[in-house]
């Protein structure tokens, strides 16, 4: 903050301005404010100053196209300046609140490049699907039309080509999904997370009506969230719980809330299934990681479910983590932001 008299000389300077411009306070007091302006724009500055005094309405300048501030060492930084005039009766005083935009601009660049990276990933993934259709298609055609002359081993090879191209297609689909989720604009709305969980639980049960399972779902559990995305989170967590309790005759799956440390509420999905080795807990949320061999649990996916959960939860400003032990079930926790109310 710098306070400037109508003649353009600084009369008050706070510590923040000292730090920002690299001057000692006494070096600034009494000086023309022009010394804080880079040399190349200094000549025009008195004109701008007179213009402001002629119409001393509060204004913020440099928000769209940043201005430049000049430090003692002649280096510059992008700045936004908020000007307020005070009529003291003995003349006008102007306070200038100067904000260093360096961090904000860096973040904006980062967001831009991350967005363009996401679009790039999306279009590359999209293009990669086409040759895969060829791979799977021609191998399949080979099997259908020449299967009898390929021999057993030859057929197996062709079948493996079909299988691995499908696997690659799933990985590509995941990449596309990630890039899409991170470009998604959140449509936050009040959602009863418990109701969504109950619906998914009912779908899981009706998919395998013969399985004995007890779902305990807390309701209502209100949250401010993107309904579609939060549903994906619950589908993954409840789907995992369902999958990894396979084979138990006393399957118990619970959805509930607990007081959170860094948010007002934390949500959890708990099961009494296969659990996991806590040593590898950090790997759980990484894409394509799997702690159980696919053949042990039917319906095991690409190893991307929890990575998706984490991505969505983080998009909401929350985080996700897990607790468990081998054979002793698992609990997956997530928070959204601090705005939930149970």
């Amino acid at each position: 903050m710098v306070c400037i008299a109508a003649d353009g000389r600084m009369i008050l300077v706070n510590g923040e301005a000292e730090r920002l411009f690299g001057y000692e306070r006494e070096e600034l007091i009494g000086q023309l404010v022009d010394i804080l302006v880079p040399e190349e724009s200094r000549a025009a500055h008195p004109g701008y100053w007179a213009g402001f005094l002629a119409d001393p309405q509060h204004r913020v300048i440099g928000g769209d196209t940043p201005l430049a501030g000049r430090r003692y060492d002649a280096s510059t930084f992008p700045a936004e300046i908020s000007l307020t005039a005070i009529d003291t009766g003995a003349g006008i005083l102007v306070t200038a609140a100067i904000r260093d935009l360096t961090a904000r601009l860096r973040l904006r660049d980062l967001e831009r490049s991350s967005q363009s990276l996401d679009s790039f990933i999306y279009s590359v993934s999209h293009d990669l699907r086409a040759p895969l259709r060829g791979l799977s298609g021609y191998s399949g055609a080979l099997l259908e039309e020449y299967g009898d002359i390929l021999g057993e081993e030859g057929r197996e090879y062709a079948e493996r080509i079909v299988a691995v191209s499908e696997q690659m297609a799933r990985l590509i689909d995941y990449l596309m999904q990630v890039s899409r989720v991170s470009r998604t604009e959140l449509h936050l709305q009040p959602v009863d997370v418990g109701e969504e969980a109950a619906r998914i639980a009912a779908e899981l049960q009706s998919g395998e009506p013969g399985r004995a399972a007890r779902f305990t779902i807390a309701r209502p559990v209100q949250a401010l969230a993107d309904r579609r995305l939060i549903r994906t989170v619950l589908e993954n967590l409840l789907g995992n719980a369902w999958k990894f309790t396979y084979g138990r005759d006393d399957t118990s799956i619970e959805f509930g809330t607990a007081p959170g440390a860094d948010a007002s509420v934390c949500y959890y999905v708990r099961d009494n299934g296969a659990g996991f080795d806590p040593e590898y807990a950090g790997k759980l949320f990484q894409p394509f990681q799997r702690l159980h061999p696919a053949r042990d649990f039917p319906g095991t996916g690409t190893g991307t479910g929890l990575a998706t959960v984490r991505q969505i939860v983080e998009l909401h400003g929350g985080r996700a983590w897990a607790e468990g032990a081998v054979g002793a079930g698992a609990t997956f926790y997530f928070t959204l932001d601090g705005k939930e109310s149970a």
Partner: protein
């Protein structure tokens, strides 16, 4: 007698080959005309000599060289000669905006090309059976022969 043709708008030669093969396997005998970009598609649909072909079905890729699939669709729907021809968008994209834009511009169906060979064959088969056999075509094409495709 000729059976109505199918117009396949597809720039990827592999997808073309696999689609043609799938139709053959489904015993769909309609002649299939292949054009490889949007401009060629429009050239086929709106020929200079004005003898407008009326394909019974158009399979339209979205991502095409020169003129994109959506633009082809837009221009087709804006012209009386082609406004009612069934168009199935057959594409790799599952972008929500592509699906919405396709329907908004008058697509009759939207099918994402499956990677898995058997799914792909099945999808093309299902499309052929539905649009050429089950679906009642747009009337006012009285001069054309009945559709003869089918399992023989």
């Amino acid at each position: 007698m000729t059976t109505p043709t199918i117009l396949l708008v597809e720039d990827n030669p592999d997808d073309e080959a696999l689609t043609l093969r799938a139709f053959k396997r489904s015993n769909i005998r309609n002649e299939i005309t292949v054009v490889r970009d949007g401009a060629e598609a429009l050239g086929y649909l709106f020929p200079e000599d004005d003898v407008t072909p009326s394909p019974a079905l158009i399979l339209l890729d979205l991502n095409l060289p020169k003129i994109g699939g959506l633009e082809v669709l837009r221009r087709m729907r804006a012209d009386d000669r082609t406004a009612l021809i069934p168009v199935v968008v057959l594409t790799s994209s599952k972008l929500e905006e592509d699906i919405l834009d396709s329907y908004r511009n008058g697509a009759n169906a939207y099918v994402r090309k499956p990677v898995k060979f058997s799914d792909f064959t099945q999808a093309v088969n299902a499309l052929g059976v539905f649009w050429l056999l089950m679906n009642e075509p747009v009337p006012n094409h009285g001069s054309e022969a009945p559709i003869e495709a089918g399992r023989s």
